[in-house]
């Protein structure tokens, strides 16, 4: 009887739009690191992944983080590797950057290779307005927020 029971997940070819919404500063709480690990897992499942950084989340991409003196794992360099996981869309909210006196030049550079353009390296970070994020958010199947 139990031989007939077979669990099968039909996920082959199913691609959903996942948005990971980052709103917390990087090292004061565990949220940013946990989210980053979730993002890396999602990348293994060939999903349509985008990341959004707004509010204090924009600090996650700040260049030059050095965690030696606080004895914490420095995960800032992991953002730079997201392109290697074929994560091509990192949206940073312009209003949040401006409120913190930051520009895109203050952020870690993240690039991906565009297979439709002879693997040319392209910037993954796109600075967009709050209104543009609102539109993107409504297009998603799943939004994961932290």
């Amino acid at each position: 009887m139990s031989d007939d029971i077979e669990t099968e997940f039909e996920t082959e070819g199913v691609e959903k739009k996942f948005m990971f919404l980052n709103r917390k500063a990087p090292y004061g709480t565990i949220y940013a690191l946990e989210m980053l690990e979730t993002v890396l897992i999602s990348a293994a499942f060939d999903q349509d992944v985008s990341l959004v950084f707004m509010d204090d989340g924009v600090y996650q991409l700040k260049k030059g983080c050095d965690t030696k003196s606080v004895n914490m794992k420095n995960f800032s360099s992991t953002y730079k590797a997201l392109g290697d996981y074929d994560i091509q869309k990192l949206y940073v909210e312009r209003e949040s950057l401006e409120a913190r006196g930051l520009t895109v030049d203050d952020l870690t550079e993240v690039v991906y290779e565009d297979e439709d353009d002879d693997w040319a390296e392209k910037p993954a970070i796109r600075v967009v307005s709050r209104d543009e994020i609102a539109v993107l958010m409504e297009e998603q199947d799943v939004v994961i927020s932290a």
Binding site: K24, A25, Y27, D55, D56, Y59, C65, K68
Partner: protein
């Protein structure tokens, strides 16, 4: 007295509430995500500059470095862990704004 603030001023009200009650001769030490309040070009810069006239405002250097930020408002003193200890011995009581 010494006020310790460890929350981002963008996310919580702790820093501004602290400014509201910090009296002349007191000190405020910004640590962890509280260090963002010590930075230039934010909506909090003017409040910090004003508060510095009466209150000593310090920020923990290692927490600035961890976050990759160094544009500290003039008059805010950057301290190390030793400086943190000194502040706790020089001031009494010590309050943590959670």
């Amino acid at each position: 007295m010494l006020h310790l603030v460890n929350k981002s001023p963008f996310e919580r009200q702790a820093f501004e509430s602290c400014l509201g009650v910090a009296r002349k001769g007191s000190a405020i030490l910004l640590i962890e995500d509280g260090v963002y309040a010590a930075l230039k070009n934010t909506p909090f810069e003017a409040k910090v500059t004003e508060a510095i006239k009466d209150v000593k405002i310090c920020v923990l250097g290692p927490d600035l470095e961890a976050r990759g930020v160094d544009q500290v408002i003039e008059g805010v003193e950057v301290v190390d862990y030793g400086g943190f200890v000194d502040l706790t011995t020089e001031h009494n009581p010590v309050q943590s704004w959670l």
